[in-house]
Symmetry: C2
Subunit: 679 residues, 2 copies
């Protein structure tokens, strides 16, 4: 206790604004259990008279209403103890977002979240709480649910806001079961599960004499001056701004992706300036399967200037006063600020996105394991880049003692690779062992060769040079890793495929692409190199990834290149990663066609002398391989989305039988000739 008193004494020396945040951090550090600090903070805040808000940036478990409700109740009580005007939670607070088809198949989940909402309302006092929930639709026409938020206070539900704009692209599926709200702003409590026609009530919520306009997530993403083209024909923020609120609020659940922070900052700044109204944005934090939400809840003032921002990738309760300019800006991931106005072009300078990438994946691994009840991971260490980077990420997410690295050399594995694997494990402090696969390989190969002879007696078409030997190695390794997962509690194997190689189908089914989680499936190879260097430089322990791992040219070490007599190098079998990654980038970000790929030079072309024939050969190979990789994408393990666009099956949907698309296109004259030839 004297420790607390000493800390309080130190805090008292700070300027008032800093005192608020130091006290709040102290209280959060004590699990909110520090009455002396609460009392002191309350007294400081009292001077602001009105407009004090708590932004409760929480990390929910999807569908675990009791778990989520406990966080809500905890923060409501804390906000009440500070006599804040309002505490605001993210979108769909009680269930977590995205709830998806659960609410169709299990209506009990909706019934439960409404019961919990009503019971939570009973414990509220003067402080209003904005709590997201799923509401049933009354009408006989339309989808069955609203994505809603309730304002709770004085022991009751005071009003209800429903989401109007429902995103239904990329990782969003809101229009499967949610009905767009026909009304913008607050409706009275008697409309709960009973909204039929508009009520004559103010659209705004008045709390302690100040007026608040409340919106939900996508509702703030449609300013028709900022977004050209835009997606919806109404802008809820403008509608509310016309009522002259003192503050506009947005309850959100918005996953992080490359460049999204830049877009979000510019957009929120723009709309608060356009509305001439302070804007409060409360985001969900934590990962739900493939989606990693970055938190970074924030406040812009009426001039569009950033007034406050919560931490990224951490739960936090941020106290702000948007009317009286009380706020603190916690730092973003390093590098993001620099790129706020960067043009859209492919670059190998990944630096501005690396800390965010690292934190996104760390959170993705950590939450997937925690929320499914796992705590340990096992992965193969080949001495190559993919498994080395994966090992660092998994160790940082789960703690080194919960990670087992297994070196599983085959006849092709070089001594250097074996040494690199061991050095990495030692540097990282994870558990490590060797498990050579030679005896497995020999036995499996013998069984297969015997079987192939039998099959060959009935079937033609046996390949002269098959991938069977490569795949036996990859699958033997997966057999060992899954074996550990089956034998030891709470342990999952890690799939180490990267995005570039998944595009090329350069990954073995039931081999390296198999696992409980795939941490780097949305990171291209050139970015992985940069991430490896970044981690070597920025982690507390420097240079855990041996320099030789980063310097060597990637290869799976599954086969010998007949030309060199050495293990096959992936770029020789495929194409230079720098070229490949720019093709991926142009497809995903610019939606370029095959023909458009020729209209501007690639970065790689600027630095290397590449013939048109060479470029054509690589592009043809790229599209051919990609077309046959769709099946592998469909069975990829859960994996965190990192990039602006991805091939994650929850983000990008392409039927496998579409493998015969002609990406090159034809001219009208060519088409006319083809049709004429069908006579």
């Amino acid at each position: 206790m004297s420790d607390i008193n000493q800390k309080l004494e130190n805090i008292r020396q700070l300027p008032e604004n800093e005192r608020v945040y130091a006290l709040n951090e102290l209280i959060e550090g004590c699990g909110l259990d520090c009455p002396a600090a609460v009392e002191e903070l309350k007294n400081i805040l009292k001077a602001y008279d009105y407009g004090n808000l708590g932004l409760a940036q929480i990390n929910p478990i999807l569908g675990d209403i009791q778990y989520n409700a406990q966080k809500v109740v905890k923060y409501i009580k804390y906000a009440e103890s500070l006599e804040l005007d309002m505490v605001i939670f993210p979108e769909l607070t009680l269930t977590g977002y995205p709830i998806e088809d659960i609410i169709d198949r299990y209506p009990v989940v909706v019934e439960e979240n409404i019961k919990w909402l009503k019971e939570i309302a009973k414990i509220t006092g003067k402080t209003r709480a904005v709590v997201g929930f799923i509401e049933k639709v009354k009408n006989n026409t339309g989808r069955r649910y609203y994505n809603a938020a309730a304002v709770l206070g004085e022991g009751k539900i005071e009003s209800i806001i429903r989401k109007t704009l429902l995103p239904n692209y990329a990782e969003f599926y809101d229009l499967r079961y949610f009905e767009p709200s026909p009304f913008i702003g607050a409706q009275p409590p008697e409309t709960l599960c009973n909204l039929q026609k508009p009520f004559e009530t103010p659209k705004l919520n008045t709390v302690n004499g100040k007026k608040y306009g409340i919106t939900i997530c996508e509702d703030c993403w449609n300013n028709d001056e900022f977004f050209v083209p835009n997606l919806y024909n109404v802008d809820p923020v403008k509608v509310l701004a016309d009522e002259y609120p003192d503050v506009i609020i947005n309850c959100s659940a918005s996953p992080t992706r490359t460049k999204k922070e830049q877009l979000k900052h510019n957009m929120l700044s723009y709309i608060s300036r356009a509305a001439k109204t302070p804007f409060v944005y409360v985001n969900q934090v934590g990962a739900i399967d493939n989606n990693s939400f970055d938190g970074s809840s924030r406040v812009y003032n009426a001039r569009g200037e950033l007034l406050a921002r919560a931490k990224s990738f951490e739960e936090q309760f941020l106290i702000v006063n948007p009317i009286k300019d009380l706020g603190k800006i916690y730092p973003l991931a390093n590098g993001l600020e620099k790129t706020l106005r960067e043009p859209k072009a492919f670059t190998l300078d990944y630096e501005p996105d690396l800390e965010r990438t690292y934190k996104t994946i760390i959170q993705g691994i950590r939450d997937y394991f925690a929320k499914t009840g796992f705590k340990r991971a096992v992965l193969g260490l080949s001495g190559g880049l993919d498994s080395s980077v994966s090992a660092v990420l998994v160790a940082d997410a789960l703690s080194p003692e919960n990670v087992f690295g297994v070196s599983m050399p085959s006849m092709i594995t070089s001594d250097e690779s074996k040494n690199d694997a061991q050095t990495l494990a030692e540097n990282l402090g994870i558990n490590f062992t060797h498990a050579p696969i030679k005896s497995m390989y020999d036995t499996i190969n013998a069984s297969l060769q015997e079987l192939f002879t039998k099959v060959e007696s009935k079937w033609e078409g046996r390949y002269k040079h098959s991938f069977t030997p490569d795949n036996i190695q990859a699958r033997s390794r997966a057999m060992l890793l899954w074996g550990i997962s089956n034998e030891f509690g709470q342990c999952l194997p890690i799939a180490t495929s990267d995005k570039s190689e998944l595009y090329m189908g350069y990954a073995t089914v039931n081999g390296d692409m198999s696992g409980g989680f795939a941490p780097i499936a949305d990171v291209t190879k050139t970015k992985l190199f940069a991430l490896a260097r970044w981690m070597n430089k920025n982690r507390a322990v420097k240079n855990v990834i041996p320099e030789s791992v980063i310097l060597k040219r990637p290869g799976a070490e599954l086969a010998i290149d007949p030309k060199t007599g050495k293990p096959l190098i992936a770029e020789d079998a495929l194409m230079p990663y720098e070229f490949m990654d720019e093709v991926i980038w142009r497809i995903e970000n610019k939606h370029e066609s095959y023909k458009e790929m020729f209209e501007t030079a690639f970065l790689y072309e600027k630095e290397n002398n590449i013939s048109l024939e060479q470029k054509t050969e690589w592009l043809d190979k790229f599209y051919r391989r990609m077309s046959t990789a769709l099946y592998k994408w469909s069975i990829l393990p859960p994996s965190v989305i990192v990039d602006a666009r991805s091939i994650n099956k929850n983000d990008y949907r392409q039927p496998i039988t579409s493998s015969r698309i002609n990406y090159k296109g034809q001219t009208p004259e060519e088409i006319e000739d083809i049709i004429a030839a069908w006579e």
Copy 2:
């Protein structure tokens, strides 16, 4: 040729109506190349004066525009040669349906389909062609594309119809990139990729003096008297009916599912009667990944009576005249007619759905292989029900010589199972061989035990009784099957997991649940027994599945039951399949909660004396196992959807981290107490 002349002579003896269909079948049998029969058919049809239509029920390859266009051109020319008024193709004719995110990432596909549409228009004459395509949206607000159809004729595009109602539930994702059409009915050709405001044109298309109202798929699925509740607030069919068309047309792509034929028949009959107008429905046929489209295009007269129906699961060009009652009703799958009015209740009488189930899966396998460029399959034959039924389905879809069955006995496999596997293969005429896995098992197990000892030196939590031995067996088998697939061209391994066991997570990752395609993943165990018996009775070769396979109680033969000393029986480890399948049925079809499961007796309870404790134990086990099976669902191979509802990831979306949902629910009092305890 004298053969043709003899056939023509025989046909001339038939009544006029039958002559039309006999001639058309003859012409289709000759690949449309039979001028004498065409001439004769044209002359018969000429007498109808107006209203002759061709329903071109085609099987597209997704995104392969040239392939699809060739079918379109072929049937346009045939229709023209018969001097039909119109030939009608299914929804999104040129690309196939569902096109999904392809049109977002590859706009070149949209550009191409518009070019092809324009060139196809040039070859049209007096016969109008209704061709589905993807149109670009002109406006700066909204999604980027319309799901459209063009009426082509006299060398030009005559008018354009856009889909208004866009399904976005279950297997449908229309709202990801398609904008709902703001106008119902036809708009003039100058609106192509340029629709901004409504034009003053008739909503109907006039062809040869008769008026047609054209709609696209979901546009006819919203009659607010038939569907209560309904999903959309406008009914395009009613809007068009108010213009007094002679015929209403619907271009569709509607997959088959259990009970859907009954719903569709009743609905189409109802709306044609309500509109007092004949209704023409043209459906896509063939499978696209997980969706199997049944064709069965049809015509109802103005009294709602079925006038004509094309074949199910086959491409066909059906000639009809809805105004003058020309039509032929080709048979549906046996049994479907009986169940048109059956109440919604769980039953073990699967008979009315078995032929449709069989054909749905056969088409699913056949088209997945053909459209991805594969032609052969390899599967493990255990002598059990799942692999036996799968073998028959795959053999019937791909032809027996293209199937290799491999018996892969382990130390637990009984002689009876080995014999049953061989008998089945011989009965079926597929290729067959033995490949014992003992040496693989021993070597893998030795490698694993050595590895486990090393891991155990660092980690606690080794299971006393793990599934490692079971999984080594399942994975060794998958290793052999994937090996054959790697070594021999155009060959995929088959995953044999069934729906009941997938619900329970009773399938091995990288083992029996791994493969290129999973044919029975949407068939529950009790239905599989019925399907086995049905195939034994109804295939040309009877009783290919040995009776002993159907009579024995299913078990994976991966482990010995310590209680009996014999291989573990699945029902002993799980619960009776009859009970399990009813839980699945109630969840999927009635959305019952855990508590509601107790309110009415299960079929199994009526026939067996079950204590409340026993029922509780089984239900608890069901929900517990299901919650941890979500990961396995996410990596399930492509699989054809059969049931009314499924766990196919393209049909049902539930995040894996939602495994902590409380399906039981709580009372408000319980919730209040929990919150109070958080003080």
